[in-house]
Subunit: 363 residues, 2 copies
């Protein structure tokens, strides 16, 4: 049941072992922005037209015979609590802006695993998103296009022969596509190379952002790399360019990690050991500190300094320690300090369980 | 054999369970400054008179029938390496100034356990010191006086009917006695009460100093409390006054710990947990950081937040992690960074062994 997605810590992009290069690339995402013909863009919708929009989309979805549209649930935001919508934000399935709405015509169509999520009446009528673990942009693009084709069979979309797909914000017009990868770049940061990366990447028409998208800070050495241009290029061009840049960044990060391992072994082991020591012994911890220290632990796991911890567990923690997930788990609202206490508990429990399981496997 | 004292981490004052109030008072010390009659004070001695001094003392010691003078060894500093003299400083048996000398007439008479140590030709010809664990000023005074009496049987001391014992520095004249306790006051520091303590104590004719005596910084929340006045009071007066002040400080520290435990339980557990986590996982650690974190661990042990770690182990670590002891253990000179690596190793090993033993005892 897709309802589970509101009650567990799981999303498919956490399955590190299913993706390639997942020691560095956490997840890949492709989203396509689409709008229905002859209807105002979401920010101009009144209730009547809003409901018309969502019902039109619902019908198109229900009529589609495609396999990958079968196992989905439609949540309308008037049915969801604020906490539930935050749960979806923390899983990266909807945007913070989208979560701010609670109307009957704002909604999310999502499959059980959370690998396919279609935001309804966010900035555009439809934002078809596919999320996969590791570096899998082709697969994500393929997934999004299949869904797009399926819906298009029963929808009339706003499309211009010259411009391509029309979107609420002109920067998305054309393909309506944004492809992005979430990458973990501790060695870039430790060695100070990250500033060059910011510059180089923007010269190549790409953008680097923080963990929670536009305007958010890069914490835990996590960066979202995505295309800036959507017009005048094919979907495949955009995908292939991002794939190639991401591949180069992965190579460079791997080289820098190697360099750090060789030249600053003790300091690196110290940094990673301390992070692990704090995370398994703290009693109170903020989200930012936890994400920062989890980055060090992840690096330790990736380069073999820390044994027995799965990348899946670290991905899961990234979501499980966020405020809404903590409150969902506790079954009640919690003040900031209470959450810091609960967060420390969740992390400690998870890391120690991982270690025990790792040790059991060693035997 | 007393030679062991140069090769192990042990001194008797570490035996926390043998002392009273040793959750707060690490050790008690009484020293008596004495000088031989008709000989210049040490800083004015030439080699001939220096050798005469030390030989006179040696004879008096050898002639004494007293039991507690039997099991002692005389080290002359020309026989000891610089590293060995630093070992003695780190065990608090000689002063840093004394360690700077390497002549045949500078020396130390010390018993096997390091509870009795007589510095020869430091600032005075004789400095008789007794070191005991916990708050045991009466016992320490008794020990020092017995030794003093024994030596006096065969020595003519510089003594003035009006002034009392004459000493190289006039501030020691009279009883020649300094009594001190090493106290661990984390709750005074955390609650900011420590500054009042400094003021109050000095109004009572006492001095508060850091871990390694005069002019050293108070690290790890360790303070040395001692009498300032040596003249015009009996030994028993000095002892009893210090005993009473130390007792009051102990009570207050205990009350402040209770208060912290009740009012800031999570923060306290967090602080202690993090310290333990870092100490058992760091790969590189400076002496100052280690002593600071060991203070938090000690507090955790004392108030029952951390189980299975003995106060003895923590006392031993305070000495074992100092530069000379680390180098002795490694069997070679080490640069600062190498020592930081070795120190992290020693601490981790010790704390984890303590924990395993603690857990075995629980079963």
């Amino acid at each position: 049941m897709s309802e589970d997605i509101l009650n567990n810590n799981y999303v498919y992009w956490m399955e590190a072992k299913e993706g390639s290069n997942s020691d560095i690339v956490i997840s890949s995402r492709v989203r396509l922005a689409r709008n229905l013909n002859n209807l105002p863009f979401p920010h101009l919708l009144n209730e009547e037209k809003g409901l018309h929009t969502i019902n039109t989309i619902k019908n198109a979805w229900e009529k589609s015979p495609r396999e990958n549209l079968k196992d989905m649930t439609l949540f309308t935001f008037n049915q969801l609590t604020n906490l539930d919508r935050q749960i979806l934000v923390e899983k990266h399935l909807i945007s913070p802006n989208h979560a701010a709405s609670n109307t009957a015509y704002n909604g999310l169509l999502v499959n059980e695993q959370g690998s396919l999520a279609i935001m309804i009446n966010e900035e555009d009528h439809l934002r078809i998103q596919c999320f996969l673990p590791g570096l899998q942009l082709s697969e994500a693009l393929n997934c999004a296009q299949t869904v797009d084709d399926a819906l298009e069979e029963n929808l009339r979309l706003a499309f211009d022969e010259n411009m391509g797909f029309l979107t609420s914000c002109p920067t998305n017009t054309g393909t309506g596509m944004r492809a992005s990868v979430m990458i973990h770049l501790p060695a870039f940061v430790i060695t100070g190379q990250i500033n060059y990366l910011y510059q180089n990447v923007s010269q190549l028409g790409m953008t680097v952002r923080g963990l929670y998208g536009e305007g958010t800070e890069a914490i835990g050495n996590m960066f979202q790399l995505s295309n800036q241009v959507t017009l005048g290029q094919t979907e495949e061009d955009i995908r292939s360019k991002l794939d190639s840049i991401a591949g180069q960044i992965v190579q460079q990060e791997r080289m820098l990690r190697e360099k750090l391992s060789n030249e600053m072994r003790y300091q690196l082991e110290d940094r990673i050991g301390r992070a692990y020591g704090i995370l398994t012994n703290a009693r109170v911890i903020t989200s930012n500190e936890a994400i920062t220290l989890l980055s060090d632990v992840r690096l330790g796991v990736d380069i073999g300094i820390l044994k027995g911890i799965n990348a899946f567990a670290l991905n899961e923690l990234l979501v499980a320690i966020r405020p809404a997930h903590l409150q969902k788990k506790a079954g009640r609202e919690m003040e900031s300090f209470e959450r810091d206490v609960k967060r420390a508990e969740v992390i400690k429990e998870k890391l120690l369980r991982e270690k025990r399981q790792g040790e059991d496997q060693d035997v």
